[in-house]
């Protein structure tokens, strides 16, 4: 019995640390359990706080009483050195089974107490929750807004300026515009129309070259006025295709600047057409897509037709890839802009030939 008496630990001998949560409530916690949290440990050692109710350690705001309870359970288990890795792992797996909101609170609280092992455990659990869920399910779980446009959801995530759909759309738009101009030209055989024709090619050049500034020249100021006028007109008509285009264009980051161009030696011009096969047309790089000055001399009916075609094409482009490919290919031989075989050079040269006078970078 005397040995038994030795083994009994009198309650008064055990040390407690006093902790206060942000709501004002104070509790005492076994010393070895509380000291498992680095933040509490530091407070005790550096400031001497926590030894009595009046000098309770004030815990960070992110730690509410119920979360504190969870954290202390964790500490109480893990601070015992004798436990095996298997035991700890089993405990952890059971421990993190809680709803997502609580898991987030726990992660946040553990972080404020600098309890890294628990932060790791909870972040891993949160990552596992994200894994294997669809975007919609993720949004529901974490209460996130559904604020991406349809295009953004389908777009390749990087290099938006390299998106072949945008390039294809631009190219098609330019080509369609040219076709309509040709038709107009045939209708009116006046000299004025010739000028319009030249201007339109120049304008094509300028937006193709991404508004380098060099090719716009004198026409800029004149165009600006017309742009403003056209923009107002456009805004009021609220054409969906334009919006789509503007959205895609506006979100495209500027990837080219003149300094970089000077630093880099580029493949010789004679090889340019091959280089610029499917993807490299310079106009894709700085998408200041302002087509209003080009449309100046098209009558509204033609413009509508053009916009409708583009809208139709934009819609088709935004469907799934395999369907897209089939549709694009079925548009006909003359519109075969995406080569289906590997050796795409020949067909792409066809589509660039109309702009063959353009010196690409």
């Amino acid at each position: 019995m005397s040995e038994g008496a030795m083994a009994v630990v009198k309650p008064e001998m055990k040390s407690y640390i006093w902790l206060q949560t942000v709501d004002g409530s104070i509790q005492q916690v076994e010393e070895e359990v509380a000291m498992f949290c680095p933040m509490i440990c530091r407070e005790v050692l550096q400031t001497g706080m926590g030894s009595s109710k009046n000098y309770a350690i004030l815990l960070p705001q992110r730690v509410n009483p119920s979360i504190l309870g969870l954290i202390l359970d964790y500490c109480r288990f893990h601070q015992i050195p004798g436990r095996s890795n298997k035991e700890r792992k089993t405990f952890d797996e059971k421990f993190i089974r809680m709803d997502t909101k609580r898991l987030c609170e726990l992660t946040s609280a553990a972080d404020s107490l600098q309890l890294k092992p628990l932060v790791d455990l909870t972040s891993r659990a949160l990552a596992r929750i994200i894994e294997g869920k669809t975007p919609e399910e993720i949004r529901e779980t974490f209460h996130l807004p559904d604020d991406l446009t349809e295009e953004e959801k389908l777009e390749p995530l990087r290099n938006i300026t390299d998106d072949p759909r945008i390039r294809l759309l631009n190219r098609l738009y330019a080509r369609k515009r040219k076709e309509l101009k040709e038709r107009e030209k045939l209708k009116n055989a006046e000299v004025e129309e010739e000028q319009v024709d030249d201007r339109s090619v120049d304008d094509l050049l300028s937006f193709i070259n991404g508004g380098d500034g060099d090719t716009k020249g004198v026409k800029t100021s004149k165009n600006k006025k017309k742009n403003r006028r056209r923009k107002e007109q456009r805004d009021s008509s609220s054409n969906k295709a334009d919006e789509n285009l503007q959205n895609e264009v506006d979100t495209a980051p500027l990837t080219q600047n003149n300094a970089e161009v000077n630093d880099i030696l580029v493949a010789t011009p004679s090889k340019a057409s091959k280089v610029q096969d499917f993807s490299g047309c310079a106009f894709s790089q700085k998408l200041e897509f302002d087509d209003s000055f080009i449309d100046d001399d098209l009558d509204p009916a033609m413009k509508e037709e053009l916009d409708r075609e583009v809208e139709d094409f934009a819609r088709r482009l935004n469907s799934g890839w395999p369907e897209r490919m089939q549709e694009i290919l079925s548009l006909g031989q003359e519109r075969k802009l995406i080569p289906s075989s590997m050796n795409g050079n020949s067909s792409s040269r066809k589509c660039i030939s109309m702009l063959s006078s353009v010196p690409f970078l």
């Binding site: 992660t107 932060v119 972040s123 995530l157 990837t255 970089e260 590997m342």
Partner: protein
Amino acid sequence: MELIPGLPEDLARECLSRVPYQQFPAVGAVCKDWKAEIDSPGFLSQRKSAGQCQALVVLVQARPNPIGKYCSPGLKNMHPPIFLPTVFEPLSGRWADLPSPPGCCDGLPRFCRLAAVGTDLVVVGGLDPVTWDVTNSVYVYSFLSSEWRRGADMPGGDRFLFGCASDDDRLVFVAGGHDKQKNSLRSAMAYDVHMDRWVQMPDMARERDECRGTFRGGKFLVISGYGTEAQGKYDRSVEAFDTAKWSWDPVEENVLEADTTPRACVDGEGDDALYTCRNRSRDIAALRGSTWTPVAELPSDVASQSHVMRWRRKLLVFGYGSGCKPDGVSVLDLCSNNKWTKVEIPEEFRGTVDEGWVLEI
């Protein structure tokens, strides 16, 4: 808007950085903030510094081609194997198919070259699987969106069996190979993945057909190869391109042992400059200083002409057992006593490996 409501930003970012790479596209489709996070260059570097990266071995492998599955009528009656991208995760031992580029119904080009920059995998050149013409095509697969896009073709004439490697930062380097007339090439160029633009490099000192490209210590190394007049006689020299100076270092002579095929060479780590798989002595040797030191004997079930790759301090040797298809990946751990372990290849993934590249994302 918080990334994850209830969590401080840095913790939310950490959780996101822990998701497996297969979930990247879903994460990017949740909401604007999540998309911005995954698009940012900080995302990948956070994964790297937190040790959350996943190692992926991407391969261009022969896959069975059941009748009628692939679209080209020309191949229908022949059913030769078709070469498609697959991915092997050395840590988990998992094998999976990667999607094929749209327009590549007959598979990827044969003997194409692979390299990766960040989360973008680049496939350059090779032979058209139907016509067997040399193609200068470039396909890029983004692991962020799990989508393919076409890149700017390699400029200049046909180039085949060239050396290729990336700095895993911005550029994919290409050097040597041969042209349509089987003239060995001396020229080199680099592909800027982000800008989708090819950049000329100065010529090498020597013509190098069938050379091996690798990247080490800030330099693009071109190993061996042969000149037009010395068909099949592999040179023993190495040329290194200093990317900072944008110039070639003087040729390093007598680096390789006689009778070494460049394709059996792999860049080294730490003190070892290069590793090679030696057929005659049936071992792996390391180049330390200027001598080749045997490191480990090849396991008995590994035949001579296998594909060799390096992943961190391990060498992956795709071995052919008794049959003519690789049935296992023998992994040599260079850290722990040069021990070999074998990872079995699942039945459906036992196809000849044309080319491979290791990514850490």
